[in-house]
Amino acid sequence: MKSKAVATSTSSGPSRVRTIFYTIAALIALVGVAEATYLTVMFLSGETAVCGGSSDCSQVLGSAYAKIGPVPLSALGALAYFSVFSFAIFAVFGYVLARRFFNWAVLAMFCMTLWLLYVQAFRLHAFCRYCLFSAALIFLLTGLVVARPSGERT
């Protein structure tokens, strides 16, 4: 993170694209932070079962897959979203290393999302709307990473 970016382009075009790209990513990640934090608080206050009026939701969030040891998965999700948010912010300000970390973090979250969707579909046979919303956010972030301009690839 200490290595400040060296501008490779003299024009302001790529820089503006980069700013817009990572700003959108940071905003998406911020929504994820809010959602995962909300679920973590619900878990810690013992209100896992109260989940938007859906019994499927409580089945997923109350399952053994919803935590790793004593740690709720939503807390890890909040941490992951916050990392993505931080990397995106640093990338906006031109930190090259942050872009690489951003890509790896999104990739890791994408893989985790696929696993969790599999668990919901084939093991729990129930879908939680919060989890689906989070999956949509990750797909959006992954879509951004895949579709970003070639000049932004590190």
Partner: protein, 219 residues
Amino acid sequence: MKRTLPFIIVIGVGLITLGSATYFYKTKHPGSAPLKIARTETDAGGTVHVLGPEKAAVTIEEFGDFQCPPCGRLCEPLNELQKKYNFRLVYRNFPLPMHPHAREAACAAEAAGKQGKFWQMHDLLFKEQAVWSHSTEPKALFNAYAGMLQLDLSRFRSDLESPEVLEKIDKDQQRGTEIGVKTTPTLFLNNEAVAPENTNSDKLPEMVENMIKGNKPSS
């Protein structure tokens, strides 16, 4: 300024998130004192479902919902614990509104209770929770469970919707609401609420053991 700005943004958002989470958590837990209840007395009419001896040193009173997955996971360990330590276990119905079949399941358990098989139906409903929870016709399954328990089916069917059964569930729920129960399972160990993070098969045995070793009678 441009060098420090990303640090300021990231730290600022981190602090706001932590602050909001703490505030939200505190609104959910306004008081630090745990909920307390008066001891449930075993009545001769059998309207309160109790396992274990009346004068046991430890009493656990559970407010449960038959469609709640954590309650289902707690059922077997709690039964094993009860057999091991022979404490007094009280079950109260607290069907949550977001579980569409929870109230019907509570009725089935109460209807079985009228034929002396509440705990058998209680265990069966939790064991088969994943099946009837997703059924569009859970009553048909409850009837099948009643058959498995060799209940008088015509009596079971009429008891399912009897005002007496519905009133019993309402009473349990009212008791829970009055003492501040909001979620399930909520357990009271010797009349004091067990923290949600301890309401699991890992921590509960230790708490019961400590209570028995301390020989603190349930007053």
